[in-house]
């Protein structure tokens, strides 16, 4: 069944129910993964809900249907960020499944983008360049002559041009036997 806090997930973290379940500790405190051997696999399980079936021991976020990973409930997101370095905890440390970890990372990036979470701002020195905008690339340049009036063509070869006399004489000499009689020199109307 869908959670009653579906549209306002941040209210759950202020409620009595949350306080009674978790107290002051973070959500993932006390969770222990079940795995073979002393060294846990370096990745947690892929997802707690696969093909419609829930696993036996879900991760700290999937086991509580009211904990929704959303960029607006900053208090939940803060529990998964290291208070000293500002980095997100590895899923091995918190025990959440990889799918939730991916959604959590996306929600944290969104919250930082909206300004709800702290983000590290690098110091960018003041740019020392010429701000006068006089250069032709960014300033006003005089328009081309063809743009001033509507009658003019953009390129001169858009209209018919008289070819040079030497070129005409050369063509006539090359195609001597094939020229039609009375072929006009003026442009066709």
């Amino acid at each position: 069944p869908p959670s009653p806090y579906k549209d306002r997930p941040w209210e759950y973290l202020e409620s009595e129910e949350y306080r009674a379940t978790y107290g002051d500790k973070p959500v993932w405190h006390g969770y222990r993964r079940n795995h073979k051997g002393s060294v846990p696999p370096q990745r947690t399980r892929k997802a707690c809900l696969r093909r419609g079936k829930h696993v036996g021991t879900p991760c700290p976020i999937c086991r509580d249907r009211n904990l929704l990973v959303d960029f607006r409930n900053v208090k939940l997101l803060d529990q998964f960020i290291c208070p000293h370095s500002g980095a997100i905890f590895h899923p091995i440390h918190t025990g959440i499944c990889m799918q939730q970890h991916r959604r959590l990372a996306q929600a944290i990036a969104q919250a930082q983008d909206h300004g709800l979470l702290w983000i590290h701002v690098p110091f960018v020195p003041v740019p020392e360049e010429d701000f006068s905008n006089q250069h032709a690339a960014v300033g006003k340049t005089p328009p081309a002559p063809a743009l001033k009036g509507p009658g003019q063509a953009w390129y001169p070869w858009y209209e018919w041009q008289q070819p040079p006399a030497a070129a005409v004489a050369r063509m006539r000499h090359n195609y001597q036997g094939f020229l039609k009689e009375n072929y006009p020199d003026t442009p066709p109307s």
Partner: protein, 307 residues
């Protein structure tokens, strides 16, 4: 060390600019140099602290180096007018109409030219070849020559709705640093975000957040050009920074030489507390508060000198 200010710049030009020597010196003095705030620890990772054993001379040397470094961090960003939009058409080729369905952006990728001299042109589907607008220019330059801290699409933080949430967390300095990283100093977004920040600081009186940062000068310039110096004056006097208050009034007179108190100050050559009193009598809107603060300061001075 900045060069000493020239004595009494006359109003030969109609208005002093932000970059004038005298103005910059006054703003720099007002900014203060709290080394603890400039070099405060940033969230970087947990490491055990370093301890060094130093003699007096070494300590002085280290403090001097720290002050030099802090000065580079306190260089003020420029205050410019909004840039003119670019709308130059270079060519109109009707032959190309209908051949393409998308715009093409041609960027000059030569490495050694400054970004402001880079030619970026756009060929539209109707054959018009025009210079790219400022937004297109910034996006293209960020794609091909990425700068640290700048994103191709600006964060949603800079929209008006989301700025309010950030201001409630008192993170004005972070917002301004991100703004410098993201936008060019003459872009309309940069100017809008800065104005919004300064107004929020002024309505809530949170002037101390920006003290000892590089944004303090810009804030003072903005407030003085709009004649809203009262809140800042009260804040300075209540923190016993009377020299800063006097330099604030001097700067106000430089910016608005036609007002009553400027003329009085020039005639009487007033200094320090007298200057503030002359200003309070004629120009300020919150006379009562400033008088109270001045009284409290004078009583504190009297008791400390008496004891």
């Amino acid at each position: 060390q900045r060069s000493p200010p020239p004595a009494e710049r006359k109003a030969a030009q109609p208005r002093p600019a932000f970059t004038d020597e005298a103005v910059q010196t006054l703003l720099y003095k007002m900014t203060g140099l709290d080394l603890r705030k400039v070099f405060r620890p940033v969230k970087k990772g947990l490491r055990p602290p370093h301890y060094k054993l130093m003699t007096e001379a070494q300590l002085e040397e280290a403090t001097r180096k720290a002050i030099e470094e802090a000065k580079t961090k306190l260089i003020m960003p420029p205050v410019l007018n909004e840039r003119e939009p670019i709308d130059d058409v270079l060519a109109e080729d009707k032959v190309l109409e209908g051949t393409e369905t998308a715009k093409y952006v041609f960027t000059d990728l030569s490495y050694s030219i400054p970004h402001r001299e880079r030619f970026i042109v756009v060929r539209e589907p109707n054959g018009v070849l025009r210079k790219a607008t400022w937004e297109e220019r910034d996006r293209m330059i960020q794609i091909f020559f990425p700068k640290e801290g700048r994103r191709v699409i600006p964060p949603t933080l800079f929209k008006d709705e989301n700025l309010g949430a950030v201001f409630q967390q008192d993170r004005h300095e972070d917002v301004l640093n991100m703004c410098i990283a993201q936008f060019e100093p003459d872009s309309p977004d940069y100017i809008r975000v800065h104005r919004r920040t300064y107004e929020d600081i002024e309505t809530h009186g949170k002037y101390d957040l920006l003290r000892s940062t590089r944004h303090f000068g810009g804030m003072v310039w903005y407030l003085l050009s709009r004649k809203k110096a009262d809140g800042l004056l009260i804040d300075m006097i209540s923190r016993d920074l009377v020299e800063d208050a006097a330099s604030l009034i001097t700067l106000y007179h430089m910016l608005h030489p036609d007002c009553q108190s400027a003329k009085e100050a020039k005639e009487g050559k007033l200094q320090g507390v007298d200057l503030i009193k002359a200003f309070v009598k004629t120009e300020s809107q919150r006379e009562g508060y400033i008088q109270l603060a001045l009284q409290a300061y004078e009583e504190a001075m009297a008791t400390s000198s008496a004891s």
